[in-house]
């Protein structure tokens, strides 16, 4: 079936967020904010503990969007032109986010996906909007 506005982008779950993963992301991204690496610092600034880089979750949402578009035969040749993410709630060590959402709009030339990351309690931690245009 052709996709249309309202079509689901199936939720897919990530494994639990680990310290090792945040260290690896800090190294790769250059974001060494200690709230992602050091429990004491995180608590000192009033956080419940180490929190994940928002951009790590955003990266996973962007990947989910790309994989969805690549997997749709009607969307071949569409390329990402804009990606926006909003960080609504913290993602903690051990959380298991899942990523998915809905097709917001689609035409011959453009498709927009509205995606979220939800934690294991179903709370939206991160929103992402991805716009693709046919090249």
């Amino acid at each position: 079936m052709e996709i249309q506005a309202g079509s689901a982008v199936e939720f897919k779950s990530l494994g639990p967020i680990t310290r090792e993963q945040l260290k690896q992301y800090a190294q790769a991204s250059g974001d060494f904010n200690p709230i992602h690496l050091d429990e004491d610092v995180a608590k000192k600034v009033g956080l419940p503990g180490i929190i994940a880089h928002g951009m790590l979750i955003a990266a996973h949402i962007a990947e989910r969007a790309k994989n969805f578009v690549q997997g749709e035969s009607s969307l071949q040749g569409f390329e990402l032109i804009q990606f926006q993410s909003r960080f609504k709630a913290m993602v903690l060590l051990g959380d298991t986010p899942s990523l998915g959402g809905v097709v917001k709009a689609v035409s011959d030339q453009e498709v927009t996906l509205d995606l979220q990351a939800k934690n294991q309690r179903g709370e939206v931690t991160t929103q992402g909007t991805a716009r693709f245009r046919k090249k």
Binding site: A28, S29, G30, P34, M55, Q84, S85
Partner: protein, 136 residues
Amino acid sequence: MLSLKSDVGKAVGPYHDEVTSEKIKEFCRAIGSSELHEAPPTFLTVFRKGEFELFQKLGFDLSQVLHAEQEYQYDTPVLAGDRIEFKTALTHVLEKDGARSFMQFLTFETEFQVERDSSLLKIGKSKTTIVIRGSK
């Protein structure tokens, strides 16, 4: 924490940074991507040097910073071998005065370009909004 409204317009750069295929692979692995040769959509986050430098200039510590929003616009994909040029400016400050804390939402914009075959190409733009919380 003092109001940063008067700092709108402060800019740093241009900076230059080489993109290697190793760097792309490292980033892909860190975000669990199975594609290791293409720079992922959020790869531009590796060029936040200008933002970090402005944080320092504006006088706040990295641990006070929470990321609120991030936007990218893409013109040309980043390729291994590119020497990316980028510059960053503080473009917007929104103050929220609450009962117990004073919050400031700061927006930084970065423009990226690259020289390929002796012509200058736009890579894209990023808009980063962070929140700084200060107690009263």
